[in-house]
Amino acid sequence: MAWRRAAPTSPPWKAPPPEARETRESRADEARDLPPNTLNQTSAIVEIRGLNYSVRGRPIFSGLDMDIPRGRVTAVMGPSGTGKTTLLRLITRQVSADSGSVKVAGQQLDSLSRTQLYAMRQRMGMLFQNGALLTDLNVFENVAFPLREHTELPERLIRQLVLTKLQAVGLRGAIDLMPAELSGGMSRRVALARAIVMDPEILIYDEPFVGLDPISLGVILRLIRRLNDALGLTSIVVSHDVQEISTVADVVFLLSGGKVVAQGTPQQLHSYPSEIVRQFMGGLADGPVPFHYPAPDYFHELLDRSGDT
């Protein structure tokens, strides 16, 4: 099993090559023109093999295989209900798989003790859909929260670190505001500052574009790219905003029916010879993913008089 040998021998952290960084800064196409075979085992920071997971008897994933490459922005897309968020929960072991393996940075998640898992989570940052800021703390304290919980740093240093991260997301001026006083986009940016305050290796975004106005959306998009390149992160973005994510992702995985149905660069996916990929990327109402939820025969149901009184 080659993939088992792969990650532990790879360096713990590998920044993308400088030339790729430059091209990404200018958003040129070459950066995203990674052929699928570059997603080999040695560069994968998250390796999923034969993953099975079901909720109340309903299978979400059946035999999922996936390699998320190190140092890149990886988008995980798919129709609603395909378990994209569940996948993030599995990668962070907020839930455990029924069978199969999930390896992050070479470590088998299922074999970790609680302490080891928490140590692993300190190497990850996660941006929740709604930001999930602690509502009883102000912006400064929210960003400082992981530092206060995990470090014994002096107050002056904590302040500097928090200000640096808030400056990176453009909200240094909002340190005294409470979460209730922030707009949706601002909350997400504060949450992003909080997610990077411990300098994680992997940054996970759960639907970062939902409900944002075009300006906030553009800001978040640019931040994803800039943080990934400047901090040398691996970014995993779950989203179904095809257009937005195409501008920022290096690699896209398209999930459907509990499996990866397509993977490659956004350009490759746009011209992918598969009906379900075409339906998803083109936003077509009907196709392999049906428009209608399974229902009895329409004609018969309209004529059915059993409900009459």
Binding site: Q94, A119, R121, Q122, F128, A132, P146, A191
Partner: protein, 253 residues
Amino acid sequence: MIKDLWSSLSESLVSLGELVRFLLRLIVNVPRSLVRYDLIVEQVYNAGALSLVIIMLCGLFVGMVLGLQGFQLLQRFGSEDALGTATAIGLVKELGPVITALLFAGRAGTALASEIGLMRATDQLSAMEMMAVDPIQRVVVPRFLGGVIAMPLLAAIFSLIGIFGAQLIGVQIMHVDSGSFWSQMRASVDLVDINEGIVKSLIFGVSCSLIAVYEGYNAVPTAEGVGTATTRTVVLSAVITLFLDYLITAMFL
């Protein structure tokens, strides 16, 4: 019918088992949470100090009613002087801990359950998990301990104000002799009576705080789920308080 009864009984037993397991989980985490005593102090303030007004107000009224009713009753036997004893024993052993627990469930218990439930619904607990911070240790245990510490203090204040209220009616208005009111009280209220009150309020503190944090932590993460958790907190706390009250009273006899 019997099948339904059986299934609801077994469901209740399972929930009780889960509640006990949750309590054990909290107890295991207590030592680590004690290190962050500032969080506990904050929660004693939230559960205790913020409940003071309602506790004092209710204590005063309950004491005044006791003074009035006690006076009426004792007057029939010509023993109004025993009013101090009657109200003090009634308050310290029974009404103080029980009514404080019921008020605590309504004031602080609902606040705890809805706060933790909303933290669950808005992913704040998951976010803590992801920041490698154990929400049980950081959020639940301090709130639980805050309730456990606050309850006996609140019950003591309730009894104190209640006795003052009884004195206000009995001595100031009904002209019961002030000297015999206080001296009879001092002579007949034993340490064992006060102990009973302390034990009761401590146990109610554990049960009411446990129910509140358990319901909040396990709330279904929707608006309806948080509402249900809050309601269940009040109902369960009231029933369990009165049930435990009977048990402890029987034990002290």
